[in-house]
Structures are given as structure tokens and as C-alpha cells.
Symmetry: D2
Subunit: 135 residues, 4 copies
């Protein structure tokens, strides 16, 4: 998503966060949310779906949490550092739980391998940005 | 929403949280999300919209965070206490920031007064439930 | 949700739709979205989950479509009748597909019976409101 | 988002839609939703916010509708052509209304110019995909 930075740069509000890290995190969250939504559906279509219900539940929750975080991080009116830090913590928890579970199925299901990768990348981006919020 | 409890009671998964508090929190989150969405639109339609941009930004964020939390709390497959605690913390932060800002306009705008009330009730429900998650 | 009407009545924008039907539809959409989210999770937790994957997919889609519609219908700035009609049509299609599928499992799973009921009620509310939009 | 095609290709379910057009539409919807969310916040931060309330309302609605459509199109369990067609129609209506309004402010606000472009591209992708659904 190449427009994230352009939209940030044309926003008239002061941006309280590091712009480069903010844009990278929004993009990672958006991709993670999309990948988790797809992984939930792919798991649901597997013959062994009964073994993937924990994975599906975590995919759906990670998609919801990261999708919402991308929207929240894109909003600079009414910015509140406490909200941002808490939302990033929720993403870190959701990405860890989902990424760990997907990693267990990565050898068998390529969609889980890709999703585990998205979750790890997103978790890392959220931690990088969170370090600058707390500072 | 009288169906929240009925849906919880017919879910075959074990429910890790206090059912009464869980249902009360889901309902409070759902109502808060709806009220914040409406308050954002009502503020946007006021003549003095330029004085309400912080309020609108926080309304939109509180609606996103609480709406997502209601979905996450309704999911028991792949339950993870760390995610639940972090999501509730995000709601508490969002409800506090939005409720405080709405309260500043409550004397002038009835929609802000109603929204501040929804935020306070939701914050209280989230704290009550969070106390049982940490336990 | 008793606050829907109060929030509508304190919105300074002109409301293009019948207020009573609009509030009833927003409430029906909100409840349907919540019930479908819960039904998806309940189905995922059943031993016979492999027979419920169509139901889960439709639950998730109906939850997404109806949840978004409740937000869209709560917004009166930038009102556009073509969007409202199309969104209501999408809800009608999603509620019909999900309600029909849930009805097939209603004898076996109480959550599907409750969800089929929510979908039917929501479909009816959307059709009632749509009739006034097209008029 | 380069993972959209990879996730589609690893989904075990039959895909009822043209894969190339489907992936392009999901990516266009995801970008449009993100751009509209950012444009709403940028408009809210402008000194002339009172002249941009229609734009903000349509941005928020277009973001909701397109974000939901990206999720719905990523789901192949419980696929229903009537839902897909109705959801694409809702996106087309939302992108047209939002794109037209943003275009009116494009000379003054670069974020509106970028958003109008995203809306047009998304509208085109949705129409291309819809043509294959109706067929």
C-alpha cells in the first residue's frame, strides 16, 4: 500500500508518532488483518478442520484487532497516547497467539505458514512503534 | 440485546470468563460502539463542528475499539487470556478518553451527554470483567 | 438498545428516512451481527464442525455485512439513497443465505435456531426500510 | 499487498470467481478503505472542516463498506453469488458518492485528490469483478 505515506504527509494535523514507523505499522497491520481473514477461511475449508478450530478462532480475532488498529493509527484528531499504547499491546498479544498457533500447522498448510509470517512481521512493527510511544 | 446470554449458554465450548459479567460487557460494548458512531455523526452535523474535532476523532476510535472487543469477547475457540486483558485495557483507555471529551460538551449537546454515559458504563463493565481475567 | 432512538432524536442533521423504521433496523442489524458472530464461534466448537463450514462462512459474512450496515445507517452527513439501498440489499442477501443455512441445523443446534430467527427478523426490518428508500 | 494471490492459491476451497480479478479487487478495496479512513481524518483536521462534513461522512461510509467487502470476498466457505453481487453494488455506490465528493475538493486538498483516485480505481475493479459474477 504505497498511499499510506502520502496520506500521512497530506494530513494537516500534527503527527505525534514517528512517520516512517507509523506508516510501516499501518501497512503491516492491514496486511496481517487480510492474511488472517484468508487463513481463517482456508483452515475452514481443510478436511482436518476439526484440528484447526483454535487456529481459526485466533485468525478471526487477530484480523479484528489488527484491522481496527490500522484504523485507529490512521486517526490524528483526538490522539491519545494511552489508547495507542493499549491498542498496540492488544495487537502484539493477538499476533503472538495467532502466529504461534499458525506456526504449529505451517509444515502442513502453506496458508498457515504465510499467516505466521505476517503475524511475526506485524508483531515486530507494533513493538517498534510501541517503543516510541512509551518513550 | 437479550440474545447475548442465550447465545453464550448454547455455545458448546467451555467459557473461561464469568458468564454474567461477560454478557453484560458484550452488551455494554455493543451499545457504546453504536452510541459513539452516532455521536460522531451528530457532532459532524453541528454548526460548531470545528470545536468538536477532538470529540469526533475519539468517538470514531472508541466505536472501532469497542465494536471489535464485542466480537473478540464472543469468541471462545482459541481463547487467550492475554489477548482478552489487552483488548479490555484498550477499551478502558478509549472509553475514558472519549467519555471525558464528550463530558466537556454534555451541557451543550445532548448526544454528547448520552455518549459520555455509555462510555462510563462500558468502562465500568470492562474493568469489572478485567478484574476476573487477571485473577 | 434503547439509546438508538435517543441518539437519532438529538442528531442535528435532517434524517432522510422514517425514524421509527430506521431505529428498528439499526437495532435488528446490531443484534443480527452479534448473534451471527456468536453462532460462528458456537458452530466452530461443535464436534460436527466439518458439517457446519458453510454455516460458519455465512455467519461471518452476515456479521460483517450487518455490522457495517448498522454503522452506515447511523450516519446522516453525506447521506446518499443509492448507497443506503445497496447496503440494505446486501443485508437482505446475507440474512437470507445465513438464515436459510442456520435453519437447516436448527433442530440440532439451538444457537443456529436463534441465529436463523435473528436473520429473519433483520431481513424483514431491512425490507421494510428499503421500501421507504425506493419510494 | 503481495500476499493476496498467495493466500488465494493456498485456499483448499474451489474459488468461484476469476482469481486475477478477485485478487485485484480485494487489494483495491483494502487500499480504498485505508485511504478513505485517512481522508476522513485529514478533512477533520482542516480549518475549513465545516465545508467538508459531507466528504467526511462519505469517507467513513466508503471505508466501512469497502473494508467489509474485502473480508467478504476473501471468504469461500458458504459462497453465495447473490451476496457477492450485492456487496459489490454497495461498493460501487459508496465509491461513486465518495469519489465524486472528494473530486470537488481535489484542487484544494491533496488528500481528497488521492482519495478520489483510490475510489475511482476501486469502483472500476468492483465493476470488472461484478461483470464476471453476473455472467
Amino acid at each position: 500500500m504505497t498511499t499510506t505515506t502520502a496520506m500521512l504527509d497530506t494530513n494537516p494535523q500534527p503527527i505525534a508518532l514517528d512517520r516512517r514507523k507509523l506508516a510501516a505499522t499501518i501497512d503491516a497491520l492491514t496486511e496481517c488483518a487480510a492474511t488472517c481473514t484468508s487463513c481463517a477461511d482456508a483452515c475452514l475449508g481443510e478436511d482436518m478442520v476439526a484440528d484447526l478450530t483454535t487456529c481459526i478462532g485466533r485468525n478471526l480475532t487477530c484480523a479484528d484487532v489488527c484491522g481496527t488498529a490500522a484504523r485507529v493509527l490512521s486517526r490524528h484528531n483526538g490522539y491519545d497516547a494511552t489508547i495507542i499504547a493499549a491498542v498496540l499491546q492488544a495487537c502484539i498479544a493477538a499476533c503472538r497467539a495467532c502466529g504461534d498457533e499458525c506456526a504449529r500447522h505451517a509444515g502442513m498448510h502453506e496458508h498457515c505458514r504465510l499467516c505466521a509470517e505476517s503475524c511475526r512481521a506485524c508483531l515486530q512493527a507494533c513493538e517498534d512503534l510501541l517503543n516510541t510511544v512509551s518513550a
